[in-house]
């Protein structure tokens, strides 16, 4: 009887040891090794090192004229469907009406519209000019969250935050469940009707890795969109000037997503 007890204890010890060995077994790749491995050539010049950059976009609402060139450029560059339902970036027109004096309110109704995402430009607001308190355009795109809800909900690891600050979708691996589309608090994702995967702004990853600006920044006529690399900010970098001189803020800061897309001149009505 005593013999059996000892045996069971021994056997359990051995099992525990085996379980321990299994738990320790998965190999850990050193950051340095990974770094060396993920330098990649991209057509021109030097190898691109994703660990050597941190991309950031800032948008000056005071400079946006609502021409919609960014929307066009984005669709052409990234093969986004041309229909008025799918956008990686779009522009919204906000019109805040004057309040009726009798109500005692400061502001009237807020009207937001985005005909075809701004692809064809914007006609003047439907509200007569004398009734407008203020009106402005807000370009929207993926907010490049530091804590991205879309990556957190992906069940297969097909969407992820890259070391250089983009949030990308692996089209080969995405199974099209659409969780990320629902998780994005900024509505910046859609299901691609042909590819049947999630799709979103890649920050023109194929352009920024070649040393070019994203297409929307490239064509913006008023430099309302400024794009730069936090790890390589020159003394005269427009991004540095922007961060130092403007009071920039992110959309929905209470969600704790810490977006890397910042807006200057943001109105309280913008969500």
């Amino acid at each position: 009887m005593k013999q059996t007890k000892t045996n069971r204890r021994e056997a359990l010890k051995k099992l525990a040891g085996l379980a321990g060995a299994v738990a320790v077994a998965p190999k850990t790749t050193g950051a340095e090794e990974a770094l060396r491995r993920y330098l990649f050539k991209n057509g021109v010049g030097e190898d691109y090192d994703p660990f050597d950059h941190k991309w950031l976009m800032v948008i000056d609402i005071e400079r946006c004229i609502g021409c919609g060139m960014c929307v066009r450029a984005c669709k052409a560059e990234n093969e986004v469907p041309r229909d008025p339902l799918h956008f990686r970036t779009w522009v919204e027109q906000y019109t805040i009406k004057k309040a009726d004096v009798a109500t005692g309110r400061i502001e009237g109704e807020t009207i937001v519209r985005s005909p075809n995402g701004g692809y064809d430009g914007f006609p003047p607001p439907e509200v007569p000019e004398e009734e407008i308190l203020r009106s402005f355009f807000v370009p929207k795109l993926c907010n490049l969250c530091h804590h991205s809800p879309c990556s957190q909900v992906c069940p297969v690891g097909a969407t992820f935050d890259t070391p250089d600050g983009a949030v990308l979708v692996d089209y080969e691996y995405c199974m099209g469940c659409g969780f990320c589309v629902q998780a994005c608090p900024y509505g910046c994702r859609y299901m691609h009707p042909e590819r049947h995967t999630a799709d979103k702004c890649t920050l023109c990853y194929h352009r920024i890795t070649r040393g070019l600006k994203p297409a929307c920044v490239e064509v913006c006529p008023t430099q309302a969109r400024i794009f730069g690399d936090l790890k390589h900010l020159g003394p005269d970098d427009p991004l540095r000037t922007f961060i130092e001189t403007k009071k920039a803020q992110s959309l929905k800061p209470h969600l704790g997503t810490e977006p890397r897309v910042l807006y200057a001149g943001l109105d309280k009505e913008v969500r």
Binding site: V22, C64, G121, G157, T162, R210
Partner: protein, 157 residues
Amino acid sequence: MKVPPQIVRLLIVTVVLVGSYFVAKSLLTPPTFGELGWYRAAALEELAQHKLTYAGKQECEVCHDDIWQMFHAGKHQTLSCEGCHGPAMRHVDDPENEHLLKPGSDQCLRCHQQNPSRPDWYTQIDPEEHLEGECIECHIPHNPTEMPEEEEASSEQ
């Protein structure tokens, strides 16, 4: 010491279960998954291989140096060539056969039509009150404060 048969059976079952987990994991996990994080690290490079459609402003200077000079002396210097002329990568690759758009007045009005949503500092016109005709009759698009006649006169001299 003799291991009882029920423990042997338990061990075999455990080894088979744990082993099949690792076999399934190695078969189902794609290469490079997990090397940088919870994703396929190779996806970074794959996404970076997407083809370019917009060439970038600096490509235009290579051949159109004359327009480039005039353009950067005027108020339109912050614009991208491809904003008005459309994506240029095909033209850069094959300048003889692939040509870009010559935009009309509608392209001017896309930015300059009066709109209360536009900021006050920005130049806007009401096309009904502004002079009639095509914009390029009075403005050189590459340097919009200059008149085209002056340019023609100076080139004739």
